[in-house]
Symmetry: C2
Subunit: 254 residues, 2 copies
DNA sequence: TCGCTCGGTGAACGGTGTTTACACAGTTGA
DNA sequence: TCAACTGTGTAAACACCGTTCACCGAGCGA
């Protein structure tokens, strides 16, 4: 297993230390404080040494982005464990609530990952942020979609202009779910469902970004009721059975 | 009227030139390119001279923010002129579409104003971004709320925890509308309506930010159908009469 | 053991925000 | 009219930044 030579292990350790230090600076003092020299200072080395590990500050920030997404993933996934697999709506709610909590607790990281203009993405390779979060979301949604009795999208027709995009995305969803070992019955993953994922994501992101950036049209003392209301409305619109109150799991009082 | 002395006029001119140059740099090369020295260079001045006009780079950026909001205001308001005052839903749609168009055409400005973490706002004075955009939105919403026959919010009860905040905001809305010369009949501005404004804003911002930042869970070729669908769904949920197709006003084909 | 790669250094270049001391035009007041 | 003052600009300097370059030494593989 440990194919790594001593050198490789040392290198991996330093790489991790660098990203961790960068992350700490980001959290503590914001994106602009993530400085090569500050990182080096913290690690007891000089700034040019960092170029042995990352091509540029920008590249390092990208790596930090990936770390953040991995952490987000690691925080969202266990949020599922607390909810029975037979309560799909409860699982979706749990993930949404966990995402909001994470964003409010890590505004700088949220901004870096979710509110920076699209990088040009030099050709091959998709943006990591999308894929990482997509991974988590897909994982959750996968469980929901596989439990057909729980998810009955209304039969609203989908906008015709969106059809091709949705079909393409459905294929990607199928692949991702297959990778995770989830087989999707053939007729199950309707375009309606894919379309609903989009709607959830728009509202989830909208609310959370507004709350993190303090950009509600007026200062809300507590946005949590608004968030909870949004979730239940989404659930109703999505055709979830309204019987289950979806186990609010004692949201810590802010 | 021209109480201003010669000096004051010159000063105002230079201030405008500075902000305009900063704005051009922002648009052309992003926020990090807005450099005191670059601005000074463009103006044929030295950097320290800028400190005669703004206390710091940060203060200048705030001023640029206000300029941007003023421009946004100036672009949204005339979007109303094209739509009859007797078509309130059409007016709301017009403003929403204009906001999206503006954001897509000015991503750097959008990011600066709407996707930066809340500034601490040193005590007095609210954040300008909020108030500026609020101003436009309020102006539009004002017309809608004053035409009661067009706006019939469902009688869903509002989350109890939101009640106090909504009441406070309703008061601010009343004041703002009164300033604009719009008298709101007493029983008209229900809490339901205020709550719906929040819902519109969450979805509008969510969609536009995701589109500008390229953070949809998969690459959409064209997000406009999704946007249009969202608007109509919002209209239905808000209790607007669905008869009027709300005059799509020939959206230019991207 | 020889040589080579890897990870580090220090110096340097050009850029940045910001402060300071200074100069000088234009306005203001006696 | 002439002095004082105010506003606007400058140059120099400080501390910091990303990045490049030449160098160097320890440790590893042959």
């Amino acid at each position: 297993m440990t194919e790594a030579t001593r050198r490789e292990r040392l290198r991996a350790d330093t790489e991790r230390d660098i990203r961790a230090t960068a992350r700490a600076l980001l959290v503590g003092q914001g994106r602009d404080a993530v400085t090569l020299r500050a990182i080096a200072r913290e690690l007891g080395i000089t700034a040019p040494a960092l170029y042995r590990y990352y091509d540029s500050r920008e590249a390092l920030l990208r790596a930090v982005c990936e770390d953040i997404c991995a952490d987000l993933d690691a925080e969202l996934t266990p949020a599922l464990r607390g909810v029975s697999a037979h309560d799909p709506l409860g699982r979706v709610f749990a993930v949404c609530r966990a995402f909001r909590r994470w964003a409010l607790a890590h505004p700088q990281e949220f901004e870096l990952v979710f509110a920076s203009p699209e990088e040009e993405s030099v050709g091959l390779g998709r943006r990591p942020a999308q894929d990482r979060f997509g991974g988590v979301f897909i994982h959750v949604i996968g469980h929901v979609l596989v439990a057909p009795e729980a998810f009955v999208p209304t039969t609203d027709e989908v906008p015709a202009e969106l059809h091709d995009d949705l079909v393409a995305y459905r294929e990607r969803l199928r692949e991702s779910l297959a990778e995770a070992g989830i087989q999707v019955p053939n007729g199950l993953l309707e375009l309606d469902g894919v379309y609903f994922i989009l709607k959830w994501w728009v509202r989830l992101y909208g609310h959370i970004a507004l709350e993190v950036f303090g950009r509600f049209p007026f200062p809300l003392r507590d946005a949590e009721p608004l968030f909870e209301r949004m979730l239940t409305e989404l659930a109703v619109e999505s055709g979830f059975p309204t019987g289950t109150p979806a186990t609010p799991e004692a949201p810590e009082s802010r």
